[in-house]
């Protein structure tokens, strides 16, 4: 009976949360030496299944077998001891400790009763070599980029004698090169016989890397597919259970010829971060910002919204020159901003959905003009319905929602202020295909109704699909402008690479 290729079997997993059945009889099987993608929309139960495997959530029913023995992980440490290592989407490391300390925290090699620092540093460096990361491991982690930090957390996970490695959205903060480097490491580990569970929203990556795929929907198992058995489109429709035409039927917002000017940025900049950015935007225009991570897209947005103080240049909004020193000034000028780092700059985790929605509007009204509970409820209910936020009620804490639904709440917070200009920084990152399409549809609808939107995204196809015009950023400067209509990914990439190409020519 026992299949020796199978390393991990989960059978009939059931988890009950207050009010919802998060998992209902889900089976999952992982083989030795395979990359197995776990797919589904947000709220489908992927994270819950992983948490159950790592002992964060307790199962109400079902069994987990690891190498033929039944296990019941009680906490992540216990799961790790059993051979199940996890790299979470949000980096779980201590920024103020050195890279080496982070890798060996909690299991420092000892020598004569003392921590053997030499050994720690040597082994850490060695380990990172495998990932082609050459850094000084004694420097604090905070000095390195997110990508390096991600590599460190993976190094840490694989160094403990892991049989099963879970990668939960490992690529969401990496650029293409870094993703390839990670994939090389994954291939290595696969060749060594490790079973890898790979969770990602990037379908290209799923098709590039995985051997098999398990799809969940609403806490149920929908199917298990071998790579090559299923097309990308089929996979998407399996995940969301909807017709594909419905999702991809998005039309760029029509640009009215006589639309007035919304925003004019004239040589704005913060020395050392972004410099000399000039552009203008019409009312009802969706302006895309493309460029690599760190090219100055986010910094430009933060400057317009007053998160960082603009030091050079002038900003004209709706025909008036304005001075924006802090977010409140921007809000008073009817600008809104959904930040890139939802967890750090967006959600107020312990507050309810209702409170998270009414907060920006309340901040603008001032604390002495409170909205009544009735108004708050009406506002929350309106947006929960309008954006189809999946929640039993408005008083659920926002941190208990899935990423896509959190993003919708933040969007609702800003829509409630009825802005003229909405800046969206990576609004679709880390959320699933269905929610992504919904947010794109919503953006286009708002533009059609006269709102101007600045849309920042790393995904070129969605930028091209939605934008009227595209501004390409490179190294903290504006590299150029393109028309959304008729623009191809190659055009944008050429512009991103532009200068280098020019130099060699």
């Amino acid at each position: 009976m026992l299949d020796h290729d199978v390393i991990l079997t989960m059978k009939g997993i059931e988890i009950q949360f207050p009010g919802v059945k998060a998992l209902d009889g889900v089976d999952f099987e992982l083989r030795r030496g395979e990359v197995h993608a776990l797919l589904g929309e947000n709220g489908a139960g992927k994270s819950t299944l992983i948490k159950c495997l790592t002992g964060v959530n307790k199962m109400d029913a079902g069994t987990i077998m690891l190498e033929g023995r039944e296990i019941r992980p009680t906490n992540p440490q216990n799961a790790m001891d059993l051979g199940i290592s996890t790299v979470f989407q949000e980096i779980n490391l201590c920024e103020n400790l050195s890279v080496a300390e982070n890798i060996f925290i909690g299991r420092q090699p000892m020598k004569r009763g003392q921590i053997d620092w030499k050994e720690i540093n040597r082994r850490s460096a060695e380990l990172l070599e495998r990932f082609h990361v050459h850094i000084d491991v004694t420097r604090p982690l905070s000095q390195f980029s997110t990508a390096i930090q991600q590599m460190v957390s993976i190094a840490r996970a694989v160094d403990v004698d892991a049989k099963v490695l879970i990668l939960d959205e490992p690529t969401s903060s990496l650029d293409n090169d870094e993703v390839q480097r990670l994939f090389d490491v994954m291939r290595d580990l696969r060749a060594q016989g490790m079973g890898i569970i790979f969770i990602t929203h990037f379908l290209d990556q799923v098709f590039e890397m995985s051997d098999r795929m398990t799809v969940l929907r609403n806490g149920h198992l929908v199917g298990v597919f071998n790579a090559g058995e299923i097309t990308k489109l089929e996979l998407v429709s399996t995940m969301i259970g909807k017709d594909l035409d419905e999702i991809f039927d998005l039309k760029r917002a029509e640009q009215k010829a006589d639309a007035g000017q919304m925003l004019k940025a004239d040589h704005i900049g913060v020395p050392g971060k972004v410099e000399d950015i000039s552009f203008s935007q019409k009312k009802g225009e969706l302006l895309g910002f493309a460029g690599l991570l760190g090219s100055g897209r986010t910094e430009t947005a933060e400057m317009i919204f007053g998160v960082t103080r603009m030091q050079n240049g002038t900003l004209v909004i709706d025909g008036r020159e304005v001075k924006i020193n802090e977010p409140m000034d921007a809000i008073n000028n009817k600008i809104a901003f959904c930040p890139e780092d939802r967890k750090r700059d967006g959600i107020i985790g312990d507050l309810s959905i209702r409170e998270n929605i009414y907060l920006a509007l309340q901040a603008r009204r001032g604390m002495l003009h409170p909205m009544s509970r009735k108004e708050q409820d009406a506002l929350a209910d309106k947006f929960i319905k309008m954006l189809a936020i999946a929640t039993p009620d408005a008083d659920k804490k926002i941190r208990e929602l899935s990423g896509g639904n959190q993003q919708k709440v933040i969007l609702a917070r800003w829509m409630a202020t009825e802005p003229d200009l909405l800046i969206l920084d990576e609004p679709t990152r880390g959320i699933d295909v269905g929610a992504k399409a919904e947010i794109q549809r919503l953006m286009l609808e708002m533009c059609q109704n006269g709102m101007s939107i600045i849309f920042i995204s790393s995904e070129l196809d969605e930028i091209i699909r939605c934008s009227n015009r595209i501004i390409v950023m490179r190294d903290g400067k504006k590299a150029g402008e393109l028309n959304g209509e008729g623009c191809t990914q190659a055009d944008i990439m050429q512009m991103i690479a532009g200068e280098k190409a020019g130099e060699t020519a």
Binding site: P18, G19, F305, V307, E326, P327, M328, I331, F337, P339, R344, D345, G346, I347, I348, G349, D350, L351, E355, L359, A360, Q362, A363, R364, R365, M367, L368, H369, P370, M371, P392, D393, D395, K396, K397, E400, R413
Partner: protein, 352 residues
Amino acid sequence: MKSRESIFKNKLTWAVIAELAILIVAGILEPNFFSIEFNAETGMLYGSLIDIVNRSAEITIIAMGMTMVIALGGTDISVGALVAVAGAFALKFLRWDVTQYPTPGDYSVMPFILVIIVPMIICTLMGLFNGVLIGKFKLQPIIATLILMVAGRGIAQIATNGKQFTTGYTPYRFIGQGSFLGLPFPIIITIVVCAAVMIFVRKTAFGTFVESVGINPNASRVTGLKSDRIIMIVYTLTGFLSGIAGLIYSSRISSCDSNNAGVNYEMDAILAVVLGGTSMTGGKFSLTGTIIGSLIIRTITTLVYYFGITSESIMAFKAVIILIVIVIQSEPVGKMLATRQARKREAGELRG
């Protein structure tokens, strides 16, 4: 289905239960514990319960401010010193030049209004000082307030030339020793102050803003909240409330004692907040819980005195009871109880 919410509410429930349990134990051991008598001569009600509420006034008032300080993820350890400051300046104004007015009789050198207002203004400014250090200069709260914790008592000493003044001035003594509507006057002050703070916090958006900044300062700023201003208001308010508490305390003892007034008040105030269910990590807070927390602390102290437990063991006794209350309120225990409750409810639904 609001599981989290109910755990939070449970904390308040547990505080009430703890308070009642302590009172019941007291009632069993000493039936007279609950008796309240009216003294026609002073026009005041007497009894252990009245005494508990009366004596908890200073901590309750300070803890109102401390609740929001803690909700912001901070602490204010200067409140005890501010109590001493308020008392010192009040007595300074009552006696001014002690060589000229050597006996502490029924007089005040300065107008009574100054005796009350100036110490409160000084404490408010000291609170603002804390707020500026923490809100504008981003110092860690414990370090920032440590400055006035140390310097405050020094300032109090300077105000009174290092002497301990006493007073017999009746209007001043009324604050801590008088009565109104049969209740000791500190109780009246406490009721007014608590009501005012609660109205300010919950009838405006201030409470939500404080919670928001306490939970996620970055996101709050991006949402348009001026977190430094909110921080300054909270610390200033706490300074002001410490001033009121300082006047009550010094009036109770008819004197100022810069070395001993308000000693350990910061600890008791923090404890009252925590017992009331507000987490030290900041975020959601409960002012009602804090009031109950303060009552618990005072009830334990009164109980201990009442049964003649030796003064050496008071602290240990207090610690044990507080330990029990806090463990019951802790998250793992709360989760355990909530799960058990949910299971029972489910079982009931199945049967029904």
